[in-house]
Amino acid sequence: MSDPLISVKNLHTQFHTDDGTVRAVDGIDVDVSRGETVCIVGESGSGKTVTSESITKILQMPPGDIPIGEVQFRDVESVRELADQFPKRVFDVHEDDAPGTAGTDVPPEEDRPGDEKHFVIVEERSGDRISRGYIDMVRAPDNALRKIRGGDIAHIFQNPQSALNPVYTVGWQIVEAVQLHSDDDDEAARERAIDLLDRVGIPDAAARFDDYPHEFSGGMKQRVIIAMALASNPDVLIADEPTTALDVTIQAQILDLLAEIQEDLGMAILFITHDLGVVAEIADRVVVMYAGKVMESGEVFDLFESPAHPYTRALLECLPGRGGDMVSIGGSLPSVTNPPDGCRFAPRCPHAVDDCFTGDQPPMYSVEGADQEVSCVFYGDGYDESVVQTEFAAAQNRTARTDGGRTTGRRAGTDTDESVRSDGGDR
């Protein structure tokens, strides 16, 4: 199997605030391969948006900080280019096979090659040419990141307004994006821009070239943003809730469009959403996040067919409008500054046993017979996983709580626990 294009490894993203350190993303792994759509799904505070913003470090730093973790971007072209540009910051794994001289704040199990200044990691050369390696985005300096952002890795966001400059015409902005990544002269760049606008479904693209952003509807603006993102022929598109602000009929159009261009261009898409319906519509692989941790990940059909983690089940069962009774998860998100020991979901999980409240988040166990991994003790040795593979609501009723809360079954007491939901995670 070939290497993933993006590998997020043991990522920790934190925000230093007056109330303490918010551990928005607290040690997660995510892989995205070429041509594949990976959806990160979660509620507010899950860390899904922060994860997406950590990849190219578009988050504010400070207060943001990535003390631990690696984001590998394995595009050989970029590795070669940056290796030429930053020769002093290249680390050749083969020349120096000694274990990484890890910095003080890097845990020992995280055997990262080179030291803090190395961000171009070369793993193999054939002759003089680099044939395998990656950019470590976490260590990469700003001038290297700028080349990658909006080039090999493009972003689109929930609010297209914020990504468009209101004082320039739409055409001018796309031409600028085109020329940033090519040597096209004005005439050729204009043609390419019209082609892109037409490609993303803007009617009368040439005639609208000189219109300003405010002359476009919300859905059309998102199309313009997609056109701008495509201007650089990116390998990866990171889309953070790009359809959440749109009406459903327009959302359906944009999802169709993304699927189409992905097929045409073979891009990888990392799609951040709170909506399991959208996930089912477009994902190849799914990552379910909760309180800064990955609860479960897997192939989309397997995951929807048999959700392995109790939280995934709860999320599916609480969707309004399925017919049947609605489930209430009860309780509230754990504290982001001082998360509890053990499984982050334990205080709200009807299956929780003693082991769930101690140690770290359970490791990712693979699920037998499925392309899925899950962080739940019931998939470990000495446990019977079928216990948690039941309806969340039924389990809640069986283990009617004795913790003084009014969380019994679906008439649950809700989000009323003592801690106020902190929005330190997602913005």
């Binding site: 082609d195 009406d247 459903v248 359906a252 709170h274 319906g277 996930v279 008439r411 007491g413 989000d415």
Partner: protein, 442 residues
């Protein structure tokens, strides 16, 4: 639920004038709500669903006279509240409470929850502070909070909790009607479920009538007994909830239901995709307002279109009515639709597309096949396109206008009972009208 009607809305309209110049001369109107009728009984929840700009929120604000309706009657227990004076209106507002999407905006951050929730009691003459506190404590518990929360401040509560407080404040004056405008849209799904169950419980407990406005059909399904679907200021279908979901009668309802992504990957790709954006309510399309996007738009007599292609031809026709086509786009982005051989090299070395190439490009841009299955329709289309690319836009446009009219743009369908047993406004259900009013094809 009782058979008695609590609220009856008849012909409600809310237009906003568009003015120009210093004299504020009216040059047009935004028809946000353009004649809607419905009623709600005690203990019943009526949902209003639609996309942004359909007028659903304006229905709420104008029926409560938070803004004055342009026309129509709003009967509350048989009395027309549109004729109420200030004092009467104040009394009515106590009986009809509103809940908004953003609970944060509706609380004064400097007032404790107890003061905020108890304030309406003070206004309505309960001056005994302890009595007020007792009532508020009781209500806080009924909405799933704790009586001890009474002295806390809004910022100490999460979004879901604030919406509970908002409910408590609405309930404190013993209303008969609650109008809730997107009350759970700002909340996470797992919290939505809690608030929706609470609203269901409270409604049953207090025998309230509820008008529940949302863009989210899933949410509507959880709480509503009946649903009215709005498009561009009008109700296009109104039906009992489960029936609407299982057997939608209006093409727009079908599209709306079909656009919701289902949490089941085996159903992917089955969504119905509507073309285009919602037209402006200041200039709604003639006839059926949905005809510019309707996948089922009725084809003209005498031609055998494949429905999908008929929709595309309509899109082209509507575009041509706005003015000459944007041929630069066709040349730039659709130059290879007709294959090679249609690109010629001009004297200055530039390559240009010949007329056949342009026509093929236009078809590609509008998703029209290179040949329509009906020969006569194909002939009309080809002639129109030939005119268009030969700088004779008017003849092309007029030809399409003459030949490819749809009954849907000539007749505005009315909300009428369908064979399914409830009302929808679509000519496909109104066969008689169609036969009578469709122009004879000659």
């Amino acid at each position: 639920m009782s058979a008695r009607t609590l609220l009856e809305v008849k012909g409600l309209k809310k237009h906003y004038p568009i003015t120009q110049g210093v004299l504020k001369k009216e040059v047009g109107r935004v028809r946000a709500v353009d004649g809607v009728d419905f009623s709600v009984s005690p203990g019943e929840t009526l949902g209003i669903v639609g996309e942004s700009g359909c007028g659903k929120s304006t229905v709420a604000t104008s029926l409560l006279r938070l803004e004055e309706p342009t026309a129509g009657d709003v009967l509350f227990e048989g009395e027309d509240i549109t004729t109420y004076d200030k004092a009467e209106l104040k009394r009515f507002r106590r009986r009809a409470q509103m809940i908004f999407q953003d609970p944060t905006a509706s609380f004064d951050p400097r007032m404790s929850i107890g003061e905020s929730v108890g304030e309406p009691l003070l206004i309505h003459g309960i001056s005994d502070r302890n009595r007020r506190r007792e009532i508020v404590k009781d209500l806080l518990e009924r909405v799933g909070l704790s009586a001890d929360d009474i002295d806390r401040y809004p910022h100490e509560f999460s979004g879901g909790q604030k919406q509970r407080v908002a409910l408590a404040r609405a309930l404190v004056v013993n209303p008969e009607l609650i109008v809730a405008d997107e009350p759970v849209s700002a909340l996470d799904v797992s919290i939505q479920a809690d608030i929706l169950s609470l609203m269901n419980d409270i409604q049953a407990e207090f025998d309230l009538a509820m008008l529940f406005i949302s863009h989210n059909l899933g949410v509507i399904r959880e709480v509503c007994d009946r649903v009215a679907v709005m498009y561009l200021g009008e109700i296009v279908e109104i039906a009992p909830t489960e029936e609407l979901f299982s057997n939608p009668q209006h093409p727009y309802t079908r599209a709306l239901l079909g656009s919701i992504p289902q949490p089941d990957p085996r159903q992917r790709g089955e969504s119905i995709t509507l073309s285009g954006d919602v037209p402006s309510p200041s200039n709604p399309p003639a006839g059926c307002r949905f005809h510019t996007r309707c996948p089922d738009v009725i084809p003209p007599e005498g031609y055998e279109f494949e429905q999908r292609h008929w929709r595309s031809v309509q899109d082209l026709r509507q575009r041509m009515r706005k003015g000459p086509l944007d041929l630069e786009t066709v040349r730039t982005a659709h130059s290879d639709a007709a294959g090679d051989g249609h690109v010629q090299t001009a004297e200055d070395g530039q390559s240009v597309l010949d007329d056949e190439g342009l026509k093929a490009g236009i078809r590609e841009e509008f998703d029209i096949p290179q040949r329509l299955s009906d020969d006569e329709a194909e002939d009309v289309l080809d002639r129109a396109l030939t005119a268009e690319v030969s700088d004779d836009h008017e003849s092309g446009r007029d030809l399409l206008d003459e030949e490819f009219q749809t009954p849907c743009e000539q007749t505005a369908p009315e909300l009428r009972e369908t064979s399914a047993g409830w009302e929808a406004a679509c000519l496909l259900h109104d066969e008689q009208r169609q036969r009578v009013e469709q122009p004879a094809d000659d």
